[in-house]
Amino acid sequence: MSPRTSSGFCAESSLAIQSWSEGREQAARSPSPRLLACGDAALSVEFGNEIDEGLNDRVLALDAALGKAAIPGLVETVPTYRSLLACYDPVTDVDGLKQRILALSGDAADEPRRIRRWRVPVVYGGAFGPDLDAVAERHGMTPDEVIALHAGATYRVYMIGFMPGFAYLGGLDARLETPRRLQPRLKTPAQSVSIGGAQAAISSVEAPSGWHLLGRTPARSFMPGRDPGFLFAAGDEIRFEPTPPKHWDELDAAAARGEPVIGCEIA
């Protein structure tokens, strides 16, 4: 998939190409996915039951293959952690659709997947990340050590869901795994950078959350009226760049005007 790139948020030329030979061997050995009915207008193509890069690769490969196949009656697809939701017109020949999906589930790894690598500025701690100190204390670290671990990892966007533009990330350093808060907050700000369990996230709009807020990014992953309206997509890679609080106002104002404050790493 290729979201519109006209604004320079992530230029096509900076896309990184990852070898898929490993994934292809994996796919050849993998069993067929389960097809689960979600009513009469959608089905869930379920590749497994865990959060795993290999399973997510298969989800993304099928997503790309179905996008290319342009099957009549297939309205849209939604990649999630370990399954792909396929929404179709309810009067479609669903048996035919299922056969196409199963056929494409096996051999979808012919092309390398293009990976966009985002560099996301984050102001950590203080009012930007009110849970940073508590997370550090819980793990017997200093706040700077937590920041170093959080910003030192490379994350995969497993899916966008829950809220418009809300990015679920995998790849959190195991030393930072933290159970969710017992008392979820009724409101957390948009652009929160948080962790919960073994996951990490970038939020897009104000929302309730039980995750731990480590920082905040000026980048708007979702902004109505901007082109592109959404920055991140399933399969993207994310790295966080610690940014001093003194830069917040300037970056936040630029982002609010719809200007890019976020880069794509050039491989």
């Binding site: 998939m1 290729s2 979201p3 689960l36 009915a37 979600c38 009513g39 009469d40 207008a41 959608a42 089905l43 869930s44 379920e46 039951n49 865990e50 959060i51 997503d63 790309a64 179905l66 996008g67 290319k68 342009a70 309205v75 849209e76 697809t77 939604v78 990649p79 999630t80 952690y81 370990r82 399954s83 792909l84 939701l85 929404c87 017109d89 309810p90 009067v91 669903v94 899916m159 966008i160 869901g161 829950f162 809220m163 418009p164 533009g165 809300f166 679920y168 897009s204 709009v205 979702f222 109505p224 309206g229 959404f230 997509a233 399933a234």
Partner: protein, 337 residues
């Protein structure tokens, strides 16, 4: 240019068409008219394509003033009283309204949602492919407010008034479900409860979802799954065992097991159940759902043929005004892939 001035309206009065497709992958559900059949009916009465943007009322009505020029309008739904220029507006025919006249729609009765369609549609700019207001994200704008002016087509007053046979009553027949996708995460007793007991639409209902009240639906092993995709009509069951049915503006992914899903032919009828009303569920097969989906598509497509001109006119005019466009179009949106 003709405009419809909003003088007052309920808090959840919005502009809706058939919805916005292709953005679920970015966390945006389709939105669109909660009762797509009623939207299509109102549009057929004014000669519009059946998925044209119209005004959706939620429980409350509204008061409007037509400015600039005449417009053919139609109301679909049941209201305590609906008038245009002081003349009673019935739900089975369209009416020509003149500049300076007021449209008054009373509270919605026998349902939750009602529609006001105008010939030529509402000429707001589409947002990401649709004019539907997505109430959670603000895509497509916000609910209508006093003082808003909705641009109308210049020839809104030139369409031919029409009438349709009366709409079928919403009734209280059971809402039909297909099992899954996670029915295997529930006990046998949970399935019996779902299909044998009566539930009630709770006060916690909005365009995103509807919490049901009734006997507890029992999970067989825990209530957390790895988040996956959710559709309109998904019956998800959180830890407290009280089901939530996702609606048009619902979240796109979720981590609670989904025991069953409302079939597409019954989504409009389900959305029209007011808070406090009783609801029963009936299990159907995929084949039965397909037959019902085809029947619904045919019924909606027939609205144009069934909409008869109200006044006698010359045969040539009648032929000209008999709009043969039919079918609700899905906005196939693969440009994002």
């Amino acid at each position: 240019m003709s405009e419809l001035l909003v003088e007052s309206c309920g808090a959840l009065t919005t502009v809706q068409d058939a919805g916005r497709f292709g953005l679920r992958r970015f966390g945006v559900s389709p939105a669109g008219a909660m009762d797509a059949t009623a939207l299509a009916r109102a549009n057929a009465l004014v000669g519009n394509a059946l998925d044209t943007a119209a005004i959706e009322f939620c429980l409350m009505g509204g008061r409007f003033c037509l400015e600039g020029g005449p417009a053919l309008i139609a109301f679909s739904g049941t209201s305590a009283n609906a008038t245009a220029g002081g003349r009673a507006l019935d739900a089975d025919s369209s009416m020509l309204v003149h500049a300076g006249e007021h449209l008054v729609i009373g509270p919605v009765r026998e349902g939750v949602y009602a529609y006001l369609a105008i010939a030529g549609g509402i000429r707001l700019a589409p947002d990401m492919g649709s004019r539907s207001v997505h109430r959670r994200s603000g895509i497509g704008g916000r609910p209508l407010q006093r003082g808003d002016r909705l641009p109308l087509a210049d020839d809104a007053g030139e369409a031919q008034p029409r009438s349709l046979p009366p709409a079928e009553a919403l009734g209280n027949a059971p809402i039909r479900l297909i099992l899954g996708p996670q029915d295997d995460l529930f006990t046998e007793r949970a399935l019996k409860t779902l299909f044998r007991e009566e539930f009630a639409i709770s006060a916690q209902v909005d365009p995103m979802g509807c919490r049901l009240e009734g006997p507890k639906i029992e999970h067989s092993s825990g209530f957390n799954i790895i988040s996956d995709g959710i559709v309109q009509g998904s019956v998800q069951v959180p830890g407290d065992g009280q089901p939530i049915v996702l609606l048009r503006d619902g979240q796109t992914t979720g981590g609670y097991p989904k025991i069953a899903t409302v079939i597409s032919a019954d989504l409009d009828r389900f959305a029209q159940l007011p808070p406090g009303s009783a609801v029963r569920f009936h299990l159907v097969t995929r084949e039965e759902a397909l037959t019902l989906a085809k029947a619904r598509a045919q019924k909606i497509a027939s609205f144009h043929e069934c909409a008869k001109p109200l006044a006698i006119e010359s045969p040539a005019d009648a032929l000209f005004s008999s709009n043969l466009i039919s079918g609700v179009t899905n906005a196939f949106a693969f440009d994002h892939m």
